[in-house]
Symmetry: D4
Subunit: 241 residues, 8 copies
């Protein structure tokens, strides 16, 4: 774990199975391990390449592998809403959800908020506004980003996806939609990177992870003592109690 | 006027003032003339270049010049709604409006349907649906196209505009949004081309202009006898009377 | 079926077989179902994934699946001509044809109107002009769009195809040809999207589908009572009788 | 002011002087007004176009105009560090600073953190980490984004600038650097948009502006009663007192 | 004059007036001189920069300067047809025409062969086919290239022009149309380069200029004794006599 | 065979095997048939799809199929030199060679004229200059085009190839090199299109095929009576005899 | 071996196995042979295609084949540091290392100098500065180039890699980072070309190979008598002794 | 002056005149100052903005300003040849020359080595090979890079220039030519950056500037005692004496 407190996550793409196994073993000494962009067929290769540390939980929808060695990341207060435009954005949303889970952040998925049906979107606004941070995943022309960011005031992280074909240019069209959004303060991460969106949300919710990793050693994660940030959702829950 | 019945419209860009004057004189023998993409400073040059046929009506917002020689295009039944996302799209919308006016088509402008405010859009839907064809002009990420095309069933012609900066890429981003729209059957014309959108709407409303120009000479426009197409708006008006 | 009256069509790309089966079952409660971009090998997977509703008619040229549950879309008056430049554009044209068929619209295909042979094109003009809307599909430099739109006055929807290689840039060159057409009022949809072209034609012919779906319940399609729009082709037929 | 609580800010680009004056007058009824991307020469035009509401404070480095009508935005707790790579990024940083000031957010500028001098960067880390949100503005290859995001755990909003020439492609190269950052959770806004970065920071710090604008009328801003969010910097200041 | 026999032509762009004068003086010792891409205002600068050799003939439509020192290029047998799509392509066509004139090649211009009017094109075919080489200049979607190359069997050199706007991408769209032409054997030169097209035609008609410049000194041009190549147009003229 | 005299050649790409067989049968009634871009595996499929007309000669290096039905194209006088930069350009050069052979044109290949070795190039100049037309095929930065076109005066047709990787952008870099060549009058065809280059050479050498196909029926090719054009190579051979 | 003294290296891509075997045999008469971009599966094909000259040493990480025929390249004084950003850049770094080894140049690899950890980089600076030339390989946003070039004064050759996804655009983003580096005098080679970087380093260290190949025949390489260039590392070693 | 020993050079672009004056004053305390990309009109503004330190030498061809305060950079042994393709590349070459002069490096310009005339190039090879490093500047298709790098073994730094038009894409075409060069070990810097090329040459010749700046204080430059590197040109000169 680096100085800033982010756990090191393993990107499977561009690495051999034996490299991945080796890296996982090293990281598992410090904390639970997450491997991303690991398709089902590579996961099978990996299991053949040598024993992995801890208990493995592979999820083929998000293409992620979670190795649990009993050292989870400390829970972070606050919640994330993951909004998708269509079924083809599910994989990316799942990568975000699994990464947040790994980082100790609670998230709720709000799927199929098809922009083509504005009324359908309005019926989900309450649900979206209940979260502290919003991740929106959309491909094609990705108007979802602007449509959600209009009425919603929370931080909105746009994940352009490669859903679509032809002039969708493998996600470049939706990336441009995110960057040019007429809605205030929309920010964007890389195409299909549910992972990067989750990390951006984590930066917001943890209030900067560098703080907690200075207070206590990494080997003793404060799973039960979440960060101090008093989030909107905390306030709300308190109000309810 | 060519065989298909479209009047020949003069694109000022790339032509000298004397070329424009000459072409206007030739065309004015057959029908009223429209000149597009003529900025105010060029309009002044033009007036100096020689006498123009008919009565000139120059409009600097749309950068168009209408030369009236008493031979207007025959009125076409049906109406067009021109929807814009923001103030910066006005010029393009005005070019569409003036071209439709010249073509004998009635249009109504529905400005500033900012996508960022979905509720504002919903309040204008009635107005938009009253038209037979919808032209939508938007720059930046141009989610307007998909948002309007979702609840509206009429033909929708998207005009990407060059409004925006940086990654808006002079309108390419909004063009990609139009082409990749997740809404059904959105069609697109060139960036900033209010003119092309008006022509596309004209094709739809006149039901193919080739028909009327065979029946009667162009020099006797049937201003009072619109084309036979029985449009929705006609039906409605009839119902009211 | 959404408020505007468009049936929901299933894009197979980016969805798993079980997701497709599930969506088809839901949609089949309301109306017949169309699945697009479903290659032959995926169609075989689908049949293995579970029973599909209704009678299935799979067509491998258009890569579409039509599930008939006895609730077809109401017939729409007016016809569409689907013009192609070459044999490589057939797949796209077939997708348009099958979608129109599903939407209750009659279409006629005018294949291989190679631009390289202008005379050949002229011999087909009569046939093209008999339709109310023209869909043109072409790849490479796609001059077909401008060449047909010149003498033909009907609405023309250009579908750029990915036919070609090298600098054809997977269809971007033909998309640019459509968008920059010097012919009046040509409109464009996404590369290879016969589906989008069909939907755009449907918007034009149905005069805005919102109208009929308000008058009678979707479960009782008016197959025998077409929409009220009095199209050019109707007029002609009447004139003949 | 829209429902979500963001004040409406005026983008001068693409609007005429009289349009700007008119919009300013309307907005000034509700709150102080900010006009962005208003170069010095246009500012002079504007003063000639008619009386503006309130006291005008024009700043030519940021090209922004602040019209103070005694209705400032409520103060928001938490601070922003605006880090720049070089002198050419100043304009963009100033736009961010002025926008934050207008939004009631305190910011501190950390200029010229040239990546070429890694040691120089390290000496500024303390200063950067003292803020709750980091905005980084850089052109050319923009390695600043990754270099700062490595050791710093706070939310980092990258603003690519158009500084550079040739293959800098007017800021596209730095935009790509932001989007592809190997550092965790970097997010990006449009090229040269200090404004968008400020808005994104505002979303994070205000915890979603929708909350406060429901509690009290906009015409009585709670300048003295900042939002409830208990930020890191608050904690720190408290600790110091 | 270089070994291959091409005269050296001066591209004014990117050179100072004094550099141009100096180069013209050097070249004028060997043969007449042509300067291209010299706008009217630069031509005025040039005349002020010092005395030019020979008699100057400046033409502002083609932006070329011809310096006649009594050493013209030898006449080349065969003719070139220069076909344009619209008025905006005139400048480029004129550059080709003036370059051919300078090279001793006869050319005839066939203007405004608008593709939108296929019939108009057919009426000009006879005229085009009378030439030995065809140069076609067109902007926007440039279908002219394929439409002419279809029925015409002569070598066809396509000059994409920057006429158009928005998605015309300053001529890239028409360049792609030339390169992807479905017509057989169309070749392309750089955007707006009437000069390059003329040189390509010269290569074809002179049968390789290296031959004649070996046989006789350049200072004695064989204006009256054209190259030996027996072209189609020669054959025709002979047949008539 | 179309009016202009070009035989119709079959592009296998984008067609099914049965479509190819059907087209070959039709064309074989008029003349010998050439099929291009037919990889070895597709050739095997084709033979299984049904009997092909005439004697088949498949060549896997050029991926072309020649079906000889005893009606070859008439011989054309003049020769073509096909120059390549490296081994990876062989496939493209072979496609050009086989197409020329089919068209009745003699060609000679000058391989591996690596630009990196200027001296090697100079030693091949004599050989290149002996031809009437030069086709140059090169990938990567493709300086071959300019280097050959410098000392050689014949028509030069550049075929950019997709040889190279990374920033070669699948041949776009070499296409740009061809289009921007500083050498006079270089013309370009599509990436990897040895076929288009051969057709362009054929246009030059046949002096426009429209002439001969009017004089005598295609079924009686004038193999022994070449076109009238008196080419350089003819002159040379005559001089030798 | 060409005149300049560079050995000819075989790029396997785009060549058939038999072509490669043939070229290797020819080159092996003059010197040891290196084959690059030869994946493991092609290496197996190659061994089946016929006997290769000398002793073969295939390395699958770098995808290179070294054929040793007892005529190695002469040793070159000076060393190269090969720095990589991450595990995914290893393949490219290995290609550089193997090529340098073949060229007689000593290199040391400094892997995983992740920019995200600036402190980690600083700890490796000493190691990097000990070399005479630095090769840096990085993908994604590739800030490694600027970060290393800042404090290091040696020649720095940047090799952009295709590591990354989405907006990494197969290495174009990292290429742009190299070209736009704000650090002084960074130079770039093609994406993923460890080979080109090694050759560029060889040019620097050998002081221009043309010199030695004039003094003695290539068939007697001066393995034991390195080039005369007195490099920094020599100076250092001498100083130590 | 930074730790690595490079002097800080001022890029005028993107800075105000007063910012430039201020920076020059600060830098002039340590060493002579160079300002780049300062067009003539801006130079005049600068002189009005306040007194500059030292003696000013402005050069309008290279657009550079050299402020001499008696603290020149130490002389570096070895020479650079600056080769250009045409007159339009002069500006860039001059920027390189002036920067090298400022850095204490001797350079010689070899202009107009037009690739179109290969023979002309060969006559200059001797001159080019006499240098230790070669900088080549070329626009358009830039084959100069490969043509020079073929026979020349020294390090070659390619500077793509924006000379050309249309598909030259403001220098991107020549940048691609540099990056894709088939010649071994060509490296590239940014478009039009004579400055970057000079800095890259300086890195090579000074053997890494970090060494000398550790040995003696910057305030006492060793103008008369050049760095120790024993270059080829030194050897040659010695041999001659």
């Amino acid at each position: 774990m680096r100085r800033v407190g982010f756990p090191e996550v393993v990107l499977a793409e561009g690495k051999t199975s034996s490299q991945i196994v080796e890296i996982c073993r090293q990281l598992a000494r410090a904390h639970d391990v997450l491997v991303t962009r690991l398709p089902a067929e590579r996961w099978e290769e990996l299991t053949a390449a040598g024993p992995l540390p801890g208990r493995a939980h592979y999820d083929d929808r998000s293409r992620t592998l979670h190795l649990s060695v009993g050292k989870p990341m400390p829970k972070v207060e606050g919640t994330v809403a993951i909004v998708t435009a269509g079924t083809a954005d599910t994989l990316v949303a799942e990568e975000a959800r699994r990464t947040l889970e790994y980082l100790g952040v609670f998230s709720a998925t709000v799927p199929d908020v098809g922009v083509a049906g504005v009324l359908r979107l309005l019926s989900r606004l309450e649900e979206i506004e209940a979260a502290d941070v919003v991740i929106a995943a959309a491909g094609m022309e990705a108007s979802l980003f602007s449509v959600v960011a209009g009425p919603v005031g929370q931080p909105l992280i746009a994940v352009p996806t490669s859903a679509g074909y032809g002039a969708a240019l493998s996600g470049l069209a939706s990336l441009l939609s995110a960057i040019n959004s007429c809605a205030n303060g929309v920010t964007a991460v890389n195409i299909d990177s549910g992972y990067a969106a989750a990390m951006a949300a984590y930066r917001i919710l943890s209030g900067g992870p560098r703080r907690w990793d200075r207070k206590e050693p990494v080997s003793k994660p404060r799973a039960s003592t979440p960060t101090k940030r008093r989030s909107a959702s905390t306030a709300k829950r308190n109000a309810r109690s």
